[in-house]
Symmetry: C2
Subunit: 449 residues, 2 copies
């Protein structure tokens, strides 16, 4: 008999009902028994404490649950989903043809390609630099092509590790906070405030023009900043971004700038943080083809890490990020990359811009609908999101009432952080007839109320 | 003037030449100066200590460098690359057509799809369960479709966190060790042994039939185990895997089982850890379409997390992994997933199996070539890798000599860990004529030597 069989280090764990809420499934039912052989084996591996720190009840699954419950009560309702920010219009032919051709070519000896560079096809990296960062000094090798912004945020968190301090806009896309929790930067969740102890929340509400008061913001190593913002739809002005860059420079911070909605900007607001002088020494930019080209399902994005960005020991951040990309990722799908390259051709870019303009027209319609009701409406001009203020009301209550009475799904602002309370987010992604129909229903609801 | 402008917390960092080796680039040249304004701004963010702990010089870039140097000396040499394990044969038509059709459909109102489920298309998840885990009790919802095994390894590391102890086969694919270092599990690198202090190295050499001596292996929380193995090409037997599962059960460990090369198994060796009774309570399995279907550039893989796998507090691992996938990933490309589904159709499966058989024939040729020279040759039967023993020699020396004298690129075994010293890995991915040509050159080299 081998030595290990006699070690007698048998699993000594016992059901721990306190740690698991009662649930109608096998795990919970098994926890009634005290016999290990009956309840089944469990490992001696401790659950990651960071994972334990995550809020239960992720926003979008909760919305989906309420949506389903609503449909069970009202089976014949024609639901209009303006909740999750998901693109709905077909991708222009010129782009899907490029992807299809790339796929077919993979069946030929000449066209077959195996592993590409982890950092992405250099032609695509250069095309991104040329199209989005012209005259900003960003070069192809500073662009890391990826499968999307959400993945890049977590790769950046792996890069940064647990010992950095972070500031996050409030409200904001949940991915920043949740990934901070997962890597151990966030500290404890304070149930009452809904805030994590070690995260600096930068309030961005209507009272401060959706830009944080930097004079009262403590220094952190990292500042997550999204513009045009999800969920508020607000794009920071050039002057504001200059303030942000100055703030980061003075504090020696790194800005992680999310420009995934830059294509929706209609005014003079910067489309990249690198339009601001001095930004290359203090900022990383995450961006995406998802909303710009309808690639939410195709999956393609990029992250810019400038050569000039240095850690306190002067080690270049780009070198470590390159290592992360090579170790924790193996490149975006070559078919998606072929599509990305087609988006940046002259005709491809025109075609996707038309689609973006369609969504912007949708946003205008929704803004007008809410404004006509006398509500304070933000966003919509530089982003596909409309942020509607219901001062003093619970955003989940507003969400519920709109769903119940109009069969329109929105997102309660509270889901984006404590600062989103009193607001709802309405997405402008949708077919025009649905946008018009939703606007009509909403107008009726409020006139009747 | 805003408050923050008067904080005077200016970046005080100074060039630190000790931390950066002299390099012919701007960073190093700037370090000669002592004037901050001249050397450029640096942040006050400390470099992640885990990233500092990574070995410098990643294996494959080093090989590529030596390859380039060789080609500079011998510009007319016809290089044959049997180094990186990258597929070379076209993907069967039936599969690329499915991907092309999916791409075209994205241009239609009916066929357009935005975000899919982060966990993957349920049809594909079910098809994977049916094709690879039939009669093993693995169901579709336990399968998480991904962009590939390398990404999944790092997502698993995020799941597990820094506080788990890990054991890794020696030699092994560098991704396990490197991702352990990045999340902070590994401890310090001991330069002399080439081992990290907190990692348990399970020696798998010819002397123990490439299976670790579990009687002397200390308990760890996590056991990374790859079969068929990269680089040794060895597939563990049913009896060995039963021992491994028993060992994990007794120790309360979790096995992270990498079966990316399972399609290459020719004998009765299990193709999944879940063929072993009791494995569902102690194992996670990572697998991939990369080598099975030539998807190295298309990017598609999956990870199985069984419902029965519980942390010590009985919390199901699958729930946390689901959360990781939803937070740190947004699903594999829908076009790649359409290709995956086509691979699992009857005709698609036949077609990709033919390609795998072609590579297996290549492997046979290479095994025979090395064996005919009187060398001890392992692998090749159940894997696309041949592991050749040169007892007492440095694997980098053998690599260099083969490259220099035959223009054939291999991989020095040392690159896979200390246990790989004295071996080289030869990849069987390639066109037949190149495999035959390489075999001929190798035979000549050794006969002449």
């Amino acid at each position: 008999m081998m030595h290990f069989l006699s070690q007698m280090a048998f699993c000594s764990c016992r059901p721990n009902a306190v740690l698991l809420r009662p649930q109608p499934n096998r795990w919970a039912s098994s926890s009634k028994s005290k016999d290990d052989s009956e309840v089944g084996h469990c490992t001696r591996v401790q659950r990651n404490v960071n994972m334990e720190g995550l809020r239960t009840g992720y926003l979008f699954p909760e919305i989906f649950k309420r949506e389903s419950e609503h449909m069970q009560k009202k089976a014949h309702a024609r639901l209009i989903r303006l909740g999750i920010g998901d693109t709905t219009l077909p991708i222009p032919d010129i782009i899907t043809s490029a992807m299809a051709e790339h796929a077919y070519a993979l069946s030929t000896i000449q066209g077959y390609k195996g592993y590409g560079a982890e950092q992405g096809n250099m032609d695509l990296r250069k095309a991104i630099a040329e199209k989005f960062y012209k005259d900003m000094g960003v070069e192809g090798h500073e662009i890391f092509v990826s499968d999307g912004a959400q993945s890049d945020i977590s790769r950046l968190q792996m890069l940064l590790g647990s010992n950095v301090t972070v500031a996050i806009q409030d409200p904001s896309f949940p991915g920043y906070t949740d990934s901070s929790v997962i890597v151990g930067q966030a500290g404890k969740l304070e149930e009452e405030s809904g805030k994590y102890g070690n995260i600096v929340y930068m309030n961005c509400g209507s009272e401060n023009g959706f830009f944080p008061d930097l004079s009262t913001t403590p220094r952190t190593d990292i500042i997550f900043f999204c513009s045009p913002n999800n969920p508020t739809g607000n794009a920071a002005s050039r002057q504001q971004l200059q303030q942000l860059v100055d703030f980061a420079r003075i504090n020696g911070s790194i800005i992680v700038y999310d420009s995934a909605y830059a294509a929706f900007i209609s005014d003079e607001s910067p489309r990249s943080i690198f339009e601001i002088p001095g930004a290359k020494e203090v900022a990383i930019e995450i961006s995406s083809f998802s909303k710009f080209a309808g690639f939410t399902g195709v999956r393609l994005g990029w992250t810019v890490v400038p050569e000039e960005l240095l850690y306190s020991n002067r080690f270049p951040v780009i070198k470590d990020y390159n290592r992360i990309v090579c170790t924790c990722f193996n490149g975006a799908s070559n078919i998606a990359q072929a599509g990305g390259l087609a988006c940046l051709s002259e005709d491809g870019y025109k075609a996707v811009t038309n689609v973006v303009n369609y969504y912007k027209e949708n946003a205008k319609i929704l803004v007008e609908a809410f404004a006509s009701l006398g509500l304070k409406v933000y966003g919509g001009k530089n982003a596909p999101y409309i942020w509607v203020h219901f001062p003093g009301l619970s955003s989940w209550d507003v969400f519920n009432e709109i769903l119940e009475k109009t069969d329109v799904v929105t997102v309660p602002g509270r889901g984006f952080g404590p600062g989103g309370e009193g607001y709802i987010r309405v997405s402008a992604f949708g077919h025009r007839e649905n946008i018009l129909e939703a606007s009509m229903r909403l107008k009726k609801l409020f006139f009747l109320a």
